[in-house]
Amino acid sequence: MDPNDFARELRRLVVEVSKRAGVGHIASSLSIVDIMAVLFTLYLETAETEQARTRFVLSKGHAALALYGALHLCGRLSRDDLNRYCADGSELGVHPEHTVAGIDVSTGSLGQGLSLSAGSALATQIDGGARRTFCLLSDAELNEGSVWEAIMFAGHRNLGRLTAIVDLNGQQALGRTRDVLDLGSAEDVAAKMSSFGWSSVVVDGHDTAALAAALAPHHTNAPRMVIARTVAGHGVSFMEGQVAWHYLPLSDQQYYLALRELAAMA
């Protein structure tokens, strides 16, 4: 599927399924839809066996709905299962579990996914293999000290098979990231990563062609860091850039408005 078509479908799924479940974290999921579309159409679902499959760690686990939607679009998760998102007894919670087919790692506690990803990439380095490991972080997650331990480690060990993406939407639970713990502009963040030995680039996180280029296999020893400038709630005007939408679920009226806007986007 074309990444833009995939993204369009995924945006609609995020809104539909979250409404059905009455659960929030919608803006965080919409923020990463284009990134997920590029990863899932171009880089993740290509291998024949589970072991050879490229690894993907959604370190910002609270956007799991976008991951479930992507797995559904790849035919790995049924619509029935998807419709049971956050239902009693479902395996599909707000944060993802590795017991679900297609999900490599359970996440949810911010600051832990990059270390796991570094471990996976270290295994590849010891093996002398070629498997890639992708890790998607939120910008607020960079508040966690353990992320910087992993950044130091991956840069120092030249884990070239590791690619991290920061979903830089500028928002976190209680405010703007620049007001909570300011890490500077996207370029400032990229410069920080480069200073730890990563190959860093800033891209528009809603431009699938730019993302595809930034996430393409690179042939240096340095781990890759893609700083993706995004908009939380991307595609839904009343949600975009509004901190309240970190948690809120949609009312009926908001739901139909959101679907209309997403349809118009296409």
Binding site: R55, H98, D104, V105, S106, T107, G108, S109, G111, Q112, L114, S115, L116, S117, A118, G119, S120, A121, L122, A123, T124, I126, D127, G145, S146, E149, A150, M152, F153, H156, R157
Partner: protein
């Protein structure tokens, strides 16, 4: 005990290429044998234990067998959430080599006294918690559990010790039993040396107690423990660990849940906020966990038992 385990890992790694040793920048004059023999699979993670345990879970995900080496406090308390959400949640074959359980780093001060680690690790239902009694025991446990499913926490004494009278084997379902008597001294592996000395000094005075050394705290060796506790009138538990959640707690759980009549006296660390430093022997004495104090408590119990019996 540290060196014995590193030697064992060096040997296992000769035939198992999946074995990787990570250290949180610790192990001077201990870890070199492995580092020199298997340089590609020895990784100094720096002073970054949270990342070390996360990376270990990632390595295990790809089929490696990572062993994470650090001082017990830093290997258990700092990265606890990484252990919980990584190795434990994913049931991966990560091993924590936690050195200096109890007062092993006595002169280093309270930050280095690992006295809550067993309790913390016992809260994870699928974490194996192993506390060897001496070097041979530690080697045997590491080798026996290398292929075991799921994560394992090894709580090791810092210094080398070999205890005569212990079999030097490892069986996670059984305690190591020495001697016989109506009163049972139940000791945690890391402080089994004091228990053995107490046993010997009492025996020299004609006072006979049975000693059982617990080297596997989780899964708890319930059947064997219940058998030993059921045969005793009183049990004294001895641990270089705080009382809540440790060996004494485990004994209390078994006594209560099995409806046993055995009386329980728990000896452990009751005050952890003192700032005094000293040798392991000194700090044990100060906490009332040394062989002499333990022997005196046992002698009193045995005397009471005979008085009651007569």
């Amino acid at each position: 005990m540290r060196k014995a385990v590193i030697h064992e890992l060096t040997e296992i790694a000769r035939t198992d290429e999946r074995l990787v040793l990570l250290t949180g920048d610790l192990g001077f004059m201990v870890i070199e044998e492995f580092a020199d023999t298997h340089p590609k699979r020895f990784i100094n993670m720096g002073v970054a234990e949270a990342n070390m345990l996360g990376v270990a879970a990632g390595l295990a995900l790809e089929g490696y067998r990572p062993y994470c080496y650090s001082i017990a406090t830093f290997a258990s308390l700092r990265p606890f959430e990484q252990i919980r959400n990584g190795a434990h949640l994913h049931q991966s074959q990560v091993r924590v080599i936690a050195v200096g359980g109890g007062f092993g780093y006595g002169t280093a001060g309270i930050t280095h006294h690992a006295v809550e680690d067993v309790a913390v690790m016992r809260t994870l239902p699928h974490m194996r918690v192993v506390v060897p009694a001496d070097d041979r025991d530690a080697e045997a446990a590491v080798r026996a559990l290398h292929d075991a499913e799921g994560p394992t926490y090894f709580r090791l004494a810092k210094d080398s010790r070999v205890l005569d009278g212990l079999p030097g084997t490892f069986d996670e379902a059984r305690l190591q039993v020495i001697g016989d008597g109506d009163v049972l001294l139940l000791a945690l592996g890391t402080i089994a040396d004091e228990a053995m000395r107490a046993h010997a000094s009492l025996a020299a005075r004609g006072i006979h107690v049975r000693v059982a050394v617990a080297t596997c705290l989780a899964p708890p060796p319930v059947a064997h423990l219940a058998e030993l506790l059921g045969a005793a009138s009183s049990v004294v538990t001895l641990e270089d660990h705080v009382l809540p959640g440790g060996l004494g707690s485990m004994a209390a759980e078994v006594i209560a849940e099995q409806g046993l009549a055995c009386r329980l006296l728990r000896l452990g660390i009751e005050e952890t906020h003192f700032s005094t430093v000293g040798s392991e022997a000194f700090l044990r004495r100060r906490a009332g966990l040394d062989a002499e104090t333990v022997a005196a408590r046992l002698a009193t119990l045995v005397a009471r038992h005979y008085l009651r019996a007569s």
